[in-house]
């Protein structure tokens, strides 16, 4: 088991299996089909992301450097949270980008029943260490535990 400390963007705790993207997550391209066509598991639809394409994102500990692409990104994440199709948590190796930050804050401020802890600045080592299906535990104080 290894611990990483990041900055809390949206507070909360979660335990889930890791899903790792080494490239930026294109939020719109990844979630658009899932939100529109009743896919409760949120299968990633981004053809340009070989790490995630075709994999289920809902309920996973999504580990990534940052998000990229359309400025609908924040509201797409917000809607995924409102529909219960969001990742269990989002863990960024880099400082968070403006679109993911918007999604994280909007769900935290405006959705009563949403809980998606978001931690950023976990460092490059975090993203090189974590692998798909490892168990991730996020704690209230921003500590992220990764175990096989």
């Amino acid at each position: 088991m290894k611990q990483f400390k990041g900055r809390i963007v949206a507070k909360g705790s979660a335990t889930a299996k890791a899903l790792v993207s080494h490239n930026g997550l294109n939020t719109l391209a990844s979630f658009q089909k899932a939100l529109q066509f009743g896919d409760k598991t949120a299968t990633c639809g981004d053809q340009n992301n070989p790490d995630l394409y075709g994999k289920q994102m809902a309920g996973k500990a999504l580990c990534l450097p940052r998000t990229i692409g359309s400025t609908t990104g924040g509201l797409v994440l917000y809607c995924a949270c409102a529909m219960g199709r969001q990742p269990a948590c989002m863990l960024f190796s880099e400082p968070i980008d403006s679109l993911a930050a918007a999604g994280a804050i909007l769900q935290d401020v405006w959705l009563k029943d949403s809980s998606m802890p978001v931690i950023d600045s976990l460092g490059d080592e975090f993203l090189s260490y974590v692998k798909d299906d490892m168990t991730i535990t996020v704690k209230d104080d921003g500590i992220v535990e990764v175990s096989d």
């Binding site: 529109q36 509201l75 930050a101 918007a102 405006w110």
Partner: protein, 424 residues
């Protein structure tokens, strides 16, 4: 973050819970990026990315209702991205059924919400609201609360306005508050280039391909581009603006670029030159081989990779008047060369409603109609954004459309040959 007394009063809830939540959202957003203050928005108009009444965005409409009910209405009028539907664009019965009964069932309702929130006018649906015909053209130095990645990067780079890559919803919240947190591209230091890109191609690079290459490489950083000015005749005229519109959209969708500087062309590069380059900036050289590598890396996700194209979209982002005229001339000439009277593939050129109205008065409009080209104000991305349209082999010269849909990207010249029957 240091707030003014007025901002603090709102945050403390003296103007109601909804206004307090708007302020909390903006303050938390800014604090994440080290914003030290909220600064007034100075542009005349805002621009919103969300223009589509998708059933799946129910949570957004509920939030907007909360804002309207609480009287938290924008102090600024705004334009919004293109409408997702246009009856002129080919769609079969099944597609029409899905659009009208499944996907965009909230369109009418959503447009009424937008009107209550401050939509400029019924034509203000385009991703290129900065076209003179539309009239949402910020001044150099204006502070914006815009979203729409292609519009933000254009406003920052070509117009010299100041705007972060705001998400949808954050855009209108800034407008409601009248302030945006000051960080990133709003600050002089955030506008410094951390990449130097040297263009060493043998000819003018395809805008959408060059933008894709740079976006993928620098991701969210600011590039300073050297060697492109000679291909833009050294000036920021209408042709250069159209080129940079398409280039920027590709940098923003294939990466997350919010600002670029082109040496001797874009306003800040003209004024400040290489002093815009930050210490320790990395370098990226683009030659013919690099562009080929990027082009060859695009996956083709058609089930049948050899399928004959059934639809072509040109105009994501929406075309300028000069581009419409250029495509009209090029298509006419290529059809003559290929011995055809009509286009070989159903082809849709997309542009802003106001540009389309103006273009209808031009000779080139009738030339396009005569050869079977469809003119539309639609958002091709929203049109293709469903499993049925995704199965139709669609071609495009838009790298943004390629990124978000199953559309296959071709360079302009290749696309022209295909739609005019010169090749399959």
């Amino acid at each position: 973050m240091k707030l003014t007394q007025e901002q603090q009063t709102i945050l403390d809830g003296k103007k109601g819970e909804t206004q307090a939540k708007v302020m909390e959202t903006l303050v938390r957003y800014g604090e994440l990026f080290g914003a030290d203050e909220m600064v007034p928005i100075t542009s005349k108009y805002n621009h919103l990315v969300t223009s589509f009444g998708l059933k799946a965005l129910g949570a957004v409409y509920s939030l907007l209702d909360q804002l309207i009910d609480a009287g938290a209405v924008s102090k600024q009028e705004f334009s919004a991205d293109p409408r997702p539907l246009d009856k002129n664009v080919p769609a079969n019965l099944l597609e029409k059924f899905v659009f009208n009964n499944f996907m965009y069932t909230k369109q009418e309702e959503y447009e009424k919400q937008l009107e209550k929130l401050g939509l400029m006018n019924k034509n203000a649906f385009t991703c290129t609201a900065y076209m003179p015909e539309v009239g949402n053209v910020p001044n150099k130095g204006d502070i914006l609360s815009w979203s729409e990645s292609s519009a933000v990067v254009y406003a920052n780079s070509v117009l010299g306005a100041r705007c972060n890559r705001n998400s949808g919803i954050i855009d209108i919240m800034g407008s409601i508050a009248g302030f945006v947190p000051s960080f990133g591209l709003l600050k002089d230091e955030g506008r410094k280039a951390t990449w130097v890109v040297r263009i060493e191609t043998s000819k003018k690079p395809e805008a959408q391909l060059l933008g894709s290459a740079i976006g993928m490489k620098v991701v969210e950083d600011v590039p300073y581009i050297i060697g492109l000015d000679k291909y833009l005749d050294g000036k920021l005229d209408d042709d250069a603006k159209a080129y940079l519109k398409d280039f920027g959209a590709a940098t923003a969708s294939n990466g997350a670029v919010g600002l670029y500087h082109v040496e001797n062309i874009t306003p800040e590069a003209v004024e400040q030159g290489r002093s815009l380059i930050a210490e320790g900036a990395r370098e990226y050289v683009i030659d013919d081989a690099e562009l080929k590598r990027v082009y060859d890396s695009y996956p083709i996700i058609w089930k049948n990779k050899d399928a004959k194209p059934k639809l072509c979209f040109i105009g994501c982002p929406h075309l300028s008047m000069a581009q419409l005229k250029g495509w009209s001339r090029d298509i006419k000439k290529a059809l003559e060369a290929n011995g055809r009277r009509k286009v070989a593939v159903p082809t849709v050129l997309t542009t802003a409603p106001d540009v389309l109205e103006a273009f209808r008065k031009e000779k080139e409009y009738q030339d396009l109609v005569n050869v079977g080209v469809i003119l539309s104000y639609i958002c091709p991305l929203m049109y293709m954004n469903n499993p049925i349209c995704q199965k139709v082999p669609t071609i495009t010269s838009s790298n943004k459309l390629r990124t978000y849909t199953s559309a296959r990207y071709y360079r302009d010249a290749d696309l022209l040959e295909i739609i005019t029957g010169g090749r399959n």
